[in-house]
Symmetry: C2
DNA sequence: GGCATAAGTTTAGTGGGTCAACAAAATCAT
DNA sequence: ATGATTTTGTTGACCCACTAAACTTATGCC
C-alpha cells in the first residue's frame, strides 16, 4: 500500500466528483474551524468559491446534518442579514475510549467538539488482565452508546487510546509496559462484547491522540508543536500544521526510550523515562514508588526541597531530550501535557534552560514551552476526533445522494 | 502564510482548472517515475483515467517538451504497438550548486535525471571568505549556464546546497560552522555576478538535498528513511514516502548536535559530532586533525587497529543517535551517506548493534542500515531535483496555452 | 417610502472529464 | 495471403461541477 503510493507517486486520478468532494470538505472545514458562526458569503470570500457554489455545497452539508443553520442575529450593518452556519450539535458523533494506567473511560464527541456523553472509572491497572480491563471498558461503553442511539445520534465509529505501541499497519497492541500487556489483540477481545462488536475501534497511541485534542484546542494558532505526555511512561507526539505525524507504524514520539547517557560513556546510562518518568520522580522525591501524580504535585506545592530538586532534575532531563527532538524535527514549540502540565511551574524553567543552552537554532527561533490546554483526559477526546477526522476529510461519504 | 493555512484548514478552492492541473501532474509523474518507457494506455490503466483523457494530457506534455515520444519497439504480443513515452532529454533542466568544506561545484540535471553539464572544483574552504568562494562558484556556473543556453535548454531555476543552517522562511544562511560563515546573505552576494543575477538560487541544507537525490535513486523502493550525511559536520534528513521533511524552518535532521552525554550526568558531555564527526575521527584515529576523509578510508583498509577502533566507537555513537531518531520519527531504514558510505564496512555493524539493542520497536520492525546509492556529490543533484520538483508538481505552469 | 447594501438563488455558459464507437497497426490462425 | 483478433490511440456525444451575471430577498439609513 505504502509502496504502491511511492511508486505511483501518490495521488489518484481526479474526476469531476473529486472536485466536489474537495470543495465539500473545504467548506465543512471552514465551518468547523471558524471560532464563530460563518455565513455562506463568508465561506465564499474565504475560499475563493462563488456564492452559488458554496450555497449548493452547504445544502448538501445541511441535508447530511453535518452543519446547521442558526437563528439570524440582529445585523449591525446594512444589507440582508447572513444566516449563521455552525457545526451541527449532537447529530453526528464519534466515541473515544482510553485505557491508561490509573483510569479508563469513554467519551462521545460531536463534530463541534462537544462532549455528548462520558463515563470514566479510576483504578490501578498496572499489571492488569487485558480481558478483565477491556470488559470493564465495554461496560462503560454500553450505556454511552445506548444513550446516543436513543437520541438518534449517528455514530461514526470508535477509537481506543492505549499507553503503548500499537501497530497501525497490522493491528495488535505490541506492548504497553506499564499495563504489563504484550501482544494483545485488543480489537478481538473487545469484539466479544456485543455492544462493541459492530463498532470495532481503531487503536492508537495515547500521546498521539492527546496531541490531536491539543491541536484542536489550539486551532487558529500556529499548529506545529511537540506534545509531551507525561504519565507513568513518557510519550510525545509531533504535530505539524495541525496534523499528527505518526511515522511508519504509528510509533513516532517514543521519547521515553531516548538514550541520554550518564556515567562513563555515551553507550551507558539511562533513558529519559528512567530520569523523568513518574516512578523515577517518586523515587527521587522520596515518595512511595507506586504513588499517584497528585502526591508529587501536593508535595511540590508544599515546597518540599527534595521534591523540588527532583522536579528540577527531571525537567533538565526532559529539556535535553526535547532539545534532541527539536534538532531532529525542527519545531519551535513544546507543549507539556499529562502530569507535566500540573508540574509545569516546577519543571518549565529547567526545560527552557536546557533548550536554550543546547538547541543550536535557538538564537533565531527560540523554542517556546507551553502548558497543555486540552483539559482532562485529552486522549479520549483525541480518539473521538481521530474518527471524526474521516468525516471532515471525506464528507461526501456521509452526504445523501 | 503557515498560520493562514492552519486557520483555513489547508487547501484552496478547486476549480475545473485544478482538475486538469492535478491530472497533468499525475500523468507526468507516471512518465518520470517509471523505470522503463510507458504508453498512454499504461498510464490510463495505472491512474484510472480514460485513455482519451490521458491522450489529451500527454499532448500538452509533448507540446511543453516535458515528455518525448520514442521510436516504437517491436511489439511482443498482438495488437497495435504502443508509443513509448519518456522524460524529454535535455529540453528542460535545473542547475544544482554546492559549496562544501572541501569542494564546490555546479551540475545541470534534466527531467530524466541526466547530468547535462558539470563543473567541480576541489579545495579547502574552512574559514573561507564568502565573497571569494561565491565568486568562484559563479565562475563555475557561468560556462554551465552558457552551454545550456546555447543548446536551447529551458533552465527552470537554480538551487544551492550549503553545509549549515539555512532559514527557509526568511532567507539568509544563519551559520555554517565548518566554513566559518555566519549570517551571510548568500543570495545577495551571488546576485552581484551577472550570470546568476537573473537566476537567484534557493538555498537549502546539504543533507536535505543529498537525501532528495538518494530518494530518487531509490524510486520504486520503500521511500521512507533517514539519510545520514557524514562530512566534517554530521547532518541528517528525514524522507517520508519520497518527500523530504524539512521542518518548520528547514532545520530538521541536525543530529550532529544531538546530546549523547558522557561523564558525570546527562546534562554534561558531548554531541554526536564530537564523537563521530570527521575531525573527531581523525583525532581518535591518531591522524592529523585537518586531514581528508580519504586518509581514514585508506588507514582502515590497511587494517590499522587504532583506526578500526575509532571507527567502531564512532559507529556506536552514531547508532545511539540514530536510535534516538528512530524513536522520535519511526522510520525503519537508515542510509549512510557522505564519508559514512565509504566507511560503512567498518561502521555498519556497530551502528546496527546499537539500533538493535536500543530501539524498543526493533523486535517488530528491524531497522535496516543501507549504504547511499546516489553517487558522488549527491547534494548537487538533489539541489537540481529540488528545483525540478516545481515542474513536476505544477507542470501546467510550463505548458503552452 | 425610497435608496444603498449585502446575502443568497437562479440561469446560462464553460471546461474537463467519461463513455462508446471507431480507426490504426500489429500478431495469430488457417 | 488473408481475415480474425487484439491492443492502442482518437473522435464525438454527453455530463457534471464550477463560474458569471442577473435577480430576489432582507436589512439599515435618510
Amino acid at each position: 500500500m505504502a509502496s504502491a503510493r511511492a511508486t505511483s507517486g501518490g495521488g489518484r486520478a481526479a474526476r469531476q466528483e473529486s472536485l466536489r468532494h474537495h470543495n465539500l470538505a473545504l467548506t465543512l472545514r471552514h465551518v468547523l474551524d471558524a471560532p464563530t458562526p460563518v455565513s455562506r458569503a463568508d465561506i465564499a470570500a474565504a475560499t475563493g468559491l462563488t456564492r452559488a457554489t458554496v450555497s449548493a455545497l452547504v445544502d448538501r452539508l445541511l441535508a447530511a446534518n453535518l452543519v446547521a443553520e442558526l437563528e439570524p442575529v440582529a445585523a449591525q450593518r446594512a444589507g440582508r442579514p447572513a444566516v449563521p452556519l455552525a457545526p451541527a450539535k449532537g447529530t453526528v458523533a464519534a466515541v473515544g475510549m482510553e485505557v491508561n494506567v490509573d483510569y479508563l473511560g469513554v467519551r462521545a464527541v460531536d463534530l463541534g467538539g462537544h462532549v455528548l456523553q462520558q463515563r470514566v472509572e479510576e483504578g490501578d491497572f498496572r499489571g492488569s488482565e487485558p480481558e478483565e480491563v477491556l470488559g470493564r471498558l465495554a461496560a462503560l461503553a454500553g450505556p454511552v452508546l445506548a444513550v446516543l442511539s436513543a437520541d438518534g445520534v449517528v455514530i461514526v465509529g470508535t477509537a481506543l487510546a492505549l499507553p503503548g505501541l500499537v501497530d497501525s499497519v497490522t493491528g495488535p497492541l505490541r506492548v504497553a509496559p506499564n499495563l504489563g500487556w504484550r501482544d494483545v489483540d485488543v480489537v478481538a477481545l473487545l469484539a466479544e462484547h456485543p455492544v462493541l462488536a459492530a463498532m470495532p475501534p481503531r487503536l492508537a497511541n495515547e500521546a498521539n491522540l492527546a496531541a490531536r485534542a491539543e491541536a484542536r484546542a489550539r486551532r487558529g494558532e500556529p499548529a506545529s508543536f511537540v506534545y509531551v505526555s507525561g504519565e507513568v511512561g513518557i510519550g510525545a507526539a509531533i504535530v505539524l500544521d495541525g496534523r499528527i505525524f505518526g511515522g511508519r507504524h504509528g510509533w513516532s514520539g517514543e521519547i521515553g526510550h531516548m538514550a541520554l547517557g550518564t556515567a562513563g560513556a555515551f553507550d551507558e546510562g539511562g533513558t529519559l523515562e528512567s530520569y523523568a518518568g513518574q516512578d523515577a520522580l517518586h523515587e527521587a522525591a522520596g515518595l512511595p514508588r507506586t504513588g499517584s501524580a497528585a502526591d508529587i504535585v501536593a508535595a511540590a506545592r508544599a515546597g518540599e526541597p527534595r521534591v523540588l530538586a527532583a522536579l528540577e532534575r527531571a525537567g533538565a532531563a526532559l529539556g535535553v531530550a526535547l532539545a534532541n527532538v527539536v534538532h531532529v524535527v525542527d519545531v519551535d514549540r513544546v507543549v507539556l501535557g499529562g502530569i507535566y502540565a500540573d508540574l509545569a511551574p516546577y519543571l518549565r524553567d529547567a526545560v527552557l534552560a536546557q533548550l536554550e543552552r543546547r538547541v543550536i537554532t535557538a538564537p533565531w527561533a527560540a523554542v517556546e514551552v507551553d502548558v497543555a490546554r486540552a483539559g482532562r483526559y485529552p486522549a479520549m477526546t483525541g480518539a473521538a476526533l481521530e474518527v471524526l477526522q474521516a468525516v471532515v476529510e471525506e464528507p461526501a461519504a456521509w452526504v445523501p445522494a
